[in-house]
Amino acid sequence: MTFAHRHLLGIEPLSPSDITAILDLADKYVALSRQRDKHVDVLAGLTQINMFFENSTRTQASFELAGKRLGADVMNMAMQASSIKKGETLIDTALTLNAMHPDLLVVRHPQSGAVDLLAQKVNCAVLNAGDGRHEHPTQALLDALTIRRAKGRLHRLSVAICGDIAHSRVARSNILLLGKMENRVRLIGPPTLMPSGISEFGVEVFEDMEEGLRDVDVVMMLRLQKERMDGGFIPSEREYFHRYGLDADKLSHAKADAIVMHPGPMNRGVEIDGTIADDINRSVIQEQVEMGVAVRMAAMELLARNLPGEAAA
């Protein structure tokens, strides 16, 4: 098995075998993370810097834990508070960090393409932890692992992604990944929250949720950002929940064993009914968090193998 990538910037450049390689390795790390001793030292001696230009608790914690379990030295930088405010450009920030010789750089940035730009300027491996509306590859990979473990396969499944597709990097990465693995993807949401040109993505688009959910294996809900709730994209929170919020009634149109996913954090009563989210027979939301750590461990290990100097060893 070869994983011939220097960076993990998105799902787009990955092949199905790349995806399978990450998920297979992640499976091992799920087992490891359930042991009392969760520590291996495959990244021992390496430095991982988490640069978050946008607030994040969950993703940052997940990457931090993943790095620590693999034995890397992990440093978190809250970029909002630092040099950006002083007018330093993204590239200067990247060059400054690069001079500290990190091996793995985990970056989240509010603008699409910013992580690609940064990756061109540094010598280490860069992991995209979310850039604007572009991609969030580790989220799609953890979703894939969750699906594969719950359904026993990651192909020929019917997956509905519901909600704010237009502004969601999670949706983009998932559409790409699920498509590459030969699943049927349905997108459900009001037209104001659908990206342009969506008909060319090889997906089915539904404006009616019950119709869209009919007989699907997986229901993936997306978070609706607070700032989009009032008037601009949808008339109101309550009308949105009425038409697109996942409740037992709407879920009954999916397959009886359909699983419910959400990348978190959830807005209970906006996009998802609390009782569905907590239903341990349907909801795999907690598993997604667990898979997140494992998938990030796997991705970082595979990238670390390709670091310069390591290849010769």
Partner: protein, 427 residues
């Protein structure tokens, strides 16, 4: 002595629509005669054997940004002048979107003085339509015309207040001034970096529907109908806007339109992995739009092609795509880029020179851009076939933001002449 007899030349005559071998004689800075028979024997002139290379009117590049006043580090009249001479642009029609804007006769005089001192090519200025290009009060259109302004444009700052625009257009009509519009619905296109569609969605970039251009053009044409103003749309870049343009022309309104060489030679997919040198305003469009634009140039529906030369420094392009500045330098690449269309067999040379020399000159009331006897001897000699790979650091512009960096191009200017005087010869 500037009198020259060009022999053995492939004469590109956009007015006659001809591309045939012949000779051309210049006297006292003007074209004296040309023909397709044996060259006349004339005394006391320099004879230039063109060896079968093309001899054409120099390009009239409508919509060039020079960074004076305000941004001389991006482009000065000296650097733009050299770039123009090398690129075969003998007349630069400059944009008023400087800092401060060219919106008073005083600023216009400064610009004219700078241009005369430093640029070897003709410089013809446009002025802002509204003060500070802010869309609130019209400029001194009459005084500015007296000072030499050939047209009035707020460039990409669309006048969104239609009351202001209707008054400015009416007033401009009374002065006989040509008004340039930027056809774009300003609210819908706010914040957009690319054209909406699959590519924009894949890249997660803020996008504008191609329809915003048609909405802008429809509005402007309605304003023209209302006021009777002379109007030119700076850049039409979408297939959807073309029927509106066609209708306006068929209705007999005094309307013309241009397009940007980049929209004729590149499409939205060229942005690829967020390459900011491919960020334009309006943004690059779909391939179908590009094909429709080529047809429109061939049919004469689109009148002019310009480079919309927009120098940007490295810092303003080395940013995430959304934040990066728009535009590209184009004075030196206008001709080789246009020759791509010739080599692709979609436009012939007379059609290209009609759009890049004759039509802009005619629309702006200039007597250049043609090979007719009496016209100024603004000429270029070029080899349309010579291949090269563009290295952006070889450009004469102070700014190096070209989307053609590293690309294979064909066609080099061998000599440029302004008023019969050779201002550039390729070494």
């Amino acid at each position: 002595m500037n009198d020259t007899l060009f022999t053995n030349a492939r004469l590109i005559d956009p007015e006659a629509g001809r591309d045939t071998t012949g000779w051309l004689l210049t006297r006292d800075g003007r074209i004296a005669d040309h023909g397709h028979d044996a060259p006349p024997s004339v005394e006391g002139v320099e004879i230039v054997d063109c060896a079968g290379h093309c001899l054409a009117p120099g390009l009239v590049d409508w919509g060039v940004k020079v960074g004076e006043p305000g941004e001389r580090h991006k482009e000065s009249y000296a650097s733009a002048g050299v770039a123009a001479a090398r690129g075969g642009v003998t007349t630069m029609v400059i944009r008023p979107d400087t800092d401060p804007s060219i919106d008073t006769p005083e600023v216009l005089e400064f610009v004219t003085r700078r241009a005369q001192a430093d640029a070897p090519v003709n410089v013809v200025p446009m002025a802002a339509l509204t003060k500070g290009r802010a869309g609130r009060e019209m400029t001194e259109i009459g005084f500015l015309m007296d000072a030499g302004a050939v047209a009035f444009s707020d460039c990409t700052a669309v006048v969104s207040d239609t009351k202001v625009l209707s008054r400015a257009l009416s007033y401009a009509r009374s002065c006989g001034a040509l008004v340039i519009g930027h056809p774009q619905e300003p609210i819908l296109s706010k914040g957009a970096a690319v054209t909406s569609g699959k590519f924009a969605s894949l890249r997660g970039l803020p996008a504008v529907s191609a329809m915003a251009e048609r909405m802008g053009l429809d509005r402007d044409i309605a304003m023209v109908e209302m006021t009777g103003a002379r109007y030119h749309a700076d850049v039409v870049s979408t297939a959807r806007a073309l029927p509106a343009l066609q209708r306006a022309k068929a209705n007999g309104f005094d309307v013309t339109a241009g397009t940007d060489i980049h929209h004729l030679t590149l499409n939205e997919l060229d942005v690829a992995d967020y390459r900011t040198f491919f960020k334009f305003r309006p943004p690059l469009r779909a391939e179908e739009d590009r094909m429709a634009l080529i047809d429109a140039v061939r049919d004469g529906l689109i009148d002019t092609i310009g480079s919309f030369h927009t120098p940007q420094d490295e810092e303003s392009k080395r940013l995430p795509f959304e934040e990066a500045a728009s535009g590209a330098v184009g004075l030196e690449t206008l001709l080789p880029a246009a020759l791509r269309l010739y080599h692709a067999d979609v436009l012939d040379l007379p059609a290209l020179f009609r759009a890049m020399a004759l039509n802009p000159a005619k629309r702006l009331g200039l007597d250049c851009g043609r090979l007719t006897a009496g016209a100024p001897a603004d000429l270029i000699r070029f080899d349309p076939d010579v291949p090269f790979v563009l290295d952006r650091f070889t450009l004469a512009s102070k700014s190096k933001n070209t989307p053609f960096d590293g690309q294979r191009l064909q066609g080099r200017v061998l000599s440029s002449y302004v008023a019969g005087r050779e201002i550039y010869r390729r070494a």
